[in-house]
Amino acid sequence: MTSLSRDDVANLARLARIEMSDEELVNLSNEFTVILDAVARVQEVAGADVLPTSHPLPLRNVFRPDVVVPSLTPEEALSGAPAQEESRFRVPQILGEEA
């Protein structure tokens, strides 16, 4: 039986960039005890000799011709932007204040 504590879930939520209330963290922690128990069955069946499958098609290095084709205009690309400035996406502060 694997379980995740409230603090474990809080750490995962931080990594996934989702703010969560204390109630949500506790609920998810309880649910994960059941869910992880169910999905842990995958560990019962495959031996070390079984190769993993990441994708149904055996494709690698798929290229198209390197030809310039019409694409979105800057106006179209910015059409859904929550905020914009000088034909660019305006975003909140990413780096800390310079010293």
Binding site: A16, E19, A38, A40, R41, V45, H55, P56, A83, Q93
Partner: protein
């Protein structure tokens, strides 16, 4: 006229007995009359649909050669981008977003002159089996408005069953086309992975997602399948090979000498008695049509559900990282001095619903250092074993069959607080996605105990999609003879509307 099949509508259009504008208006009127009860649509594009219809009518009047389905209306699942038309994926995080481009499926629909009526409801980002996870409220099953229409593509399936559209587009990651088809008495096909482009399909689990046709008849599904399928340079996982001849197969329906493999593990315990009754009856009808029924075993299918609920959440936790409040969609908490990270955290808290958050967190855990091999790695190995099960079984048969779902439609709210019970809906549909092969669900009748539709699932090897249509057409014809009228003519709800 709205009760005709898409093929019959197309015949009347080309014979000049009706116009696309008239046909489209009749469907828009139907939507206006019943969708307050059904809630299949998130957005109805009255003006856009009528403009597209008028354009087709003008081309027909000018003598242009048109595609087989030109002028026939369709409902589009809201997970597909359509330029300038709201696309939400059932999520608050994309509320109000107008995509600046068309999905390749939409480009193909437009090229074939298929009229897009609007966008259909779905579980948020296609995560769910009941359409209850839509941020915009649930869709109701036209057979019984207190029941779920399946999911994630419940809106598309309900639109067909309520005669709001003769054709629809769905997407199927673990059964999201087939399970809604089963519980609404309609037809749904998940093509071979790579058969239909994923460009413009908002990604949930990229190695499993596949768009496909939804309809009320097998032939209609085939006509739509050929209209949307084919290689697309914009999707690196698109198969560069000729599209399987599914329309010819649907017109033939000849199953003489075909070997149909009944999957031993997808029957029996856990399957409702009426579901088993209808399944056995369908096997008898196929045998009478000349097919040979054999039993096949797929011992690793019992691990498919567990593997799916690691692989899909893992891929979703990565795919949904794109909803970061920076370039499009919702942005919350962008006050003076707020950091980008805090804006992301607050936006994703408000923008995502409970199930989406649950899967993102589960996927983040399954991919994290120290747990990767035990969870995601083991699940990938199970995927190999399931594919081997299919390969072994297909040496003994041409197609494999099972009930599509263990039960008929359940009540709205009945399972919404029990994720494991909800996930069990997909137990028979998930193996197909894991192996990337094709799967179809078509109606096999009503369960005697509750009078609700039951689905029959047909699975075919990769790029042998035509086999599903051969078997589906044969069964559909035999059942029609038995019933005397299509199953949907028996639908009790919405009478008088």
């Amino acid at each position: 006229m709205i009760h005709l099949s898409a093929a019959e509508m197309a015949t009347r259009l080309s014979a000049g007995e009706t116009t696309s504008v008239e046909l489209t208006q009749k469907h828009l009127d139907r939507i206006a009359a019943v969708d307050a009860d059904v809630h299949a649509f998130l957005f109805v594009n009255n003006e856009g649909a009528l403009a597209q219809a008028a354009d087709i009518d003008a081309k027909r009047a000018a003598g242009e050669k048109l595609s087989p389905l030109a002028g026939v209306p369709l409902a589009l699942k809201d997970v597909m981008t359509q330029k300038g038309v709201p696309t939400t994926c059932g999520s608050k995080i994309l509320e109000g977003w107008l995509p600046p481009y068309d999905a390749t499926v939409v480009t193909n629909l437009k090229r074939n002159g298929i009229v897009i009526l609007g966008k259909t409801n779905m579980d948020e980002f296609a995560m769910g089996s009941s359409t209850e996870n839509s941020a915009y409220g649930p869709t109701h099953n036209p057979w019984d408005l207190s029941r779920i229409p399946g999911g994630s593509g419940g809106g598309s399936a309900a639109a067909l069953a309520a005669f709001e559209a003769p054709l629809a587009i769905g997407t199927d990651t673990g059964g999201s086309i087939r399970q809604p088809a089963a519980v609404t008495g309609t037809v749904g096909v998940k093509p071979t992975y790579g058969g239909v482009s994923r460009f413009g399909l908002v990604a949930f689990s990229s190695s499993l997602d596949q768009a496909g046709p939804c309809a009320r008849t097998v032939l209609d599904a085939a006509l739509l399948h050929e209209a949307i399928a084919g290689h697309d340079p914009k999707d690196s996982t698109s198969i560069n090979a000729p599209v399987p001849q599914v329309v010819a197969a649907a017109r033939s329906g000849d199953v003489k000498g075909m070997k149909i493999g009944v999957v031993k593990e997808l029957n029996g315990d856990g399957y409702q008695s009426g579901v088993r009754t209808r399944f056995e009856e369908s096997l008898e009808l196929l045998a009478a049509a000349g097919a040979e029924i054999v039993e096949v075993s797929a011992p690793n299918f019992e691990y498919a559900l567990a593997a799916y609920y690691l692989i899909a959440p893992s891929e979703c936790s990565s795919n949904l990282a794109r909803f970061d409040a920076m370039r499009y969609g919702l942005r919350v908490g962008d006050v003076d001095g707020a950091s980008a990270e805090s804006v992301m955290n607050l936006t994703r808290e408000v923008g995502f619903g409970r199930e989406v958050k649950r899967r993102i967190i589960l996927g983040t855990y399954a991919l994290s250092s120290g747990y990767y091999d035990a969870y995601y790695g083991s699940a990938q190995k199970v995927r190999t074993l399931i594919t081997q099960d299919f390969n072994n079984a297909f040496e003994k048969c041409d197609v494999m069959v099972s009930p599509t779902c263990p039960t008929t439609a359940f009540k709205i709210g009945e399972k919404s607080n029990d994720p494991i019970a909800m996930y069990l809906n997909d137990i028979a549909t998930i193996p197909v996605n894991m192996a990337g092969i094709g799967g179809m669900s078509l109606p096999s009748g009503l369960a005697p105990e509750d009078g609700l539709p039951v689905g029959f699932q047909i699975m075919a090897p990769a790029m042998k999609d035509e086999r599903m249509y051969l078997v589906g057409a044969a069964l559909e014809a035999a059942l029609l003879t038995k019933w005397g009228a299509p199953l949907l003519s028996k639908i009790p709800a919405l009478v008088g509307k």
